[in-house]
Symmetry: C2
Subunit: 464 residues, 2 copies
Amino acid sequence: MTSARPEPVPTLTSIQELIADLPETTVITDPDLMEGYRYDWARDPGAGHPVAVVRPTTTEQVQITMRWAHRNRVPVVPRGAGSGLSGGSSAVQNGIVLSLDRMRRIEIDTASRVAVVEPGALNAAVKAAAALEGLWYPPDPSSFEMCSIGGNIATNAGGLCCVKYGVTTDYVLGLDIVLSDGTAITLGGNRLKDVAGLSLLKLFVGSEGTLGIVTRAILRLIPPQAPPSTMVALFGSISAAAEAVVAISRTARPAMLELMDSASINAVEDHLSMGLDRNAGALLLAQSDLGGSLASAEIAEIERICMACGATEAFRTDDPVEGEAFAIARRAAFPAIEKRGSLMLEDVGVAVPRLPRLLAGISEISERLGVEIPTVAHAGDGNTHPIVVFDAADPDSCRLARLAFDEIMTLAISLDGTITGEHGVGRLKKGHLPAQLGPDVMELTHRIKDALDPLGILNPGAVL
Amino acid sequence: MTSARPEPVPTLTSIQELIADLPETTVITDPDLMEGYRYDWARDPGAGHPVAVVRPTTTEQVQITMRWAHRNRVPVVPRGAGSGLSGGSSAVQNGIVLSLDRMRRIEIDTASRVAVVEPGALNAAVKAAAALEGLWYPPDPSSFEMCSIGGNIATNAGGLCCVKYGVTTDYVLGLDIVLSDGTAITLGGNRLKDVAGLSLLKLFVGSEGTLGIVTRAILRLIPPQAPPSTMVALFGSISAAAEAVVAISRTARPAMLELMDSASINAVEDHLSMGLDRNAGALLLAQSDLGGSLASAEIAEIERICMACGATEAFRTDDPVEGEAFAIARRAAFPAIEKRGSLMLEDVGVAVPRLPRLLAGISEISERLGVEIPTVAHAGDGNTHPIVVFDAADPDSCRLARLAFDEIMTLAISLDGTITGEHGVGRLKKGHLPAQLGPDVMELTHRIKDALDPLGILNPGAVL
């Protein structure tokens, strides 16, 4: 549908025009300073060199930037904290990077029970501000301490508690958005229910900066969780652990249900020497936040299911501090695996009953290609993070890693799964998107994109 | 944006063509039989006379119908159970009514914990099928016994438990959709998390049949609620009750928080003689489903808040049967009010802290215009149902009722609220949509509509 568009190259004059229209220090053109805005955590080798980085502090400044970009047909890559894992905010050659990192205001409205936040605010800052008022913002990507709400909205980010509490889109009640031509619109508001007109609000969530720039969000808050009861169980094999997840999902509703495979357990043990059982095939970590004796009973039932599914041992506690100690291994998995080499982070997901087949398939790919792929998973919602480890200095290792990365996506699609459960398509996974969605849905996607961004200046090369 | 399109009139030949392409008994052209498909519960006086009613039993038959309609530029009004309250499925003159009432299959997949349902299946049937497997489908519009899942998806329907459990869109994981040209697509699936590509799935939910025809839905199921603890409180004035709702919403998370005003209490008492206090200014009904002692404690806290906000009396029970007896008055409100005359059902909503002002404004409109407007509300999410009672045989009463109906929407918008929290815009409210959304969002809406239905044959005249 979308025809190739001529690559725009802004002239020096036109950039001077933008600089003149914005407050001093808003536009960066120094190549050294711009270097820090070229990549997200995916370190996409295809990232281009921007002509400028714009760091607005108001919606109006975003509008000025988009009007200028629209007039001059300059590509714009919106950027939050740069913690994306799919290259969704890799800079585009000769484009603008629009960094929302200076827009960080957070207001908690306790009466409406919402947070009104700017996109650069960190997820952790929103959680903390809500907690000060005795409220809770649930979505908790593992990177919550450094990722921004704008990025969370752009990717419809998930996390550990999503298995019970849903993902980012479930908490977005309102958005202020600047469209590709600089028009500012408001969608939704602090109303809990509103069905007036099309669900445009939800369309923008997860659109990875390809449809508009979020400049303000109204997020639903809920009362805090009760202190959790926690269980950890060890299994002889990953397939036994996966079957336990399927069995738990049939009857219980844990507030967290995480899995680590043998390779990730060993990576953590190498890193922290916690005394984890190096011979364990997999570990499951579950929490219940039903509160008091109900949580205790739910976690006991989860332990019973684990033992019935062949767990070799299991521990449980109603003490939140001890429970957090159980969770340390899971939280340490990513930093531990990071020590083993360069990483390509996968994010494939399937329906929970297919989790055993997905995990078996990942092991098979790892063994066949001889690539180390420790895997952790938000098992309760079928979302896995196989982490492909490779040696960036060895071209053969790079090639095999990329092959494994691609094969894992093909495997997920063959199981009627998704190539991305929470990280987004970005630039790293877009080659696989048509295989998942099929030509008709791709065509429809292009129609929506063309309707909202007819010049194709918003984050070109991402998703599509 | 959208220019007026010539009104298409299908020829006799073209209809014979459609009849020939579909199984016998699928197409109805008998005017007497078609009469039952011209209206939904809004009884829109502007409903047209269709040229045919098509009652497909498969997605393929929906495709055949849409290909024919597309080729002949015939308007198509999709229809579920016909229980809509905004005229969203009023027949269009010389158009087709596409009734999904024969597509009612329901499969419960306990392993994935989803229901796979056809659009004509009733909400109550889905709930019942899930309950047989020990699972729960939460969305519970008051009409759940007679409304269809397809209609629920079309309007993004809410209900009583939505204050805690969210609305229809929060439970839709996958949709099969037939587009305006007959193309069939599948969006999402039985995966709990999936961010691959734009959120097209969510765009179709709440689109009131203007973007495509849902032929299958995959709905998330969760474990059932614990037996509820229930409280009912009476207040001297509606403003005191509304302030109690605001206070409750600051700290508790009830699974139901309903309000009845004095007029609706009296209507129920006229109807059922339950012994309700006719002098009460308002009644609040709350339930907690935290389970056991936690529910008991939460409902006691809600009672305490009600008394602190000036409740004249309150009762609570942990016995679900007794609790259901408390709820009878609320459930009987609509049938009771229906006895008082013809009705126009409002569905306006605001942020919870503005509920007192919305309710005061509705009383003011009722008094000033001399129109009876008993009001019930899903108070916990700020969504109210003022019910305008009028005498259909009296032109003056009709005029004043319509005036009150319009003024209530204007009031809601002035409070930064919505003209519809859960019923949809349909044809009855579309005149007020631009005032709520503003010209830029309306323009964007038209762009999306034009991208997905360029000939404008899908439910023309609804929403837009």
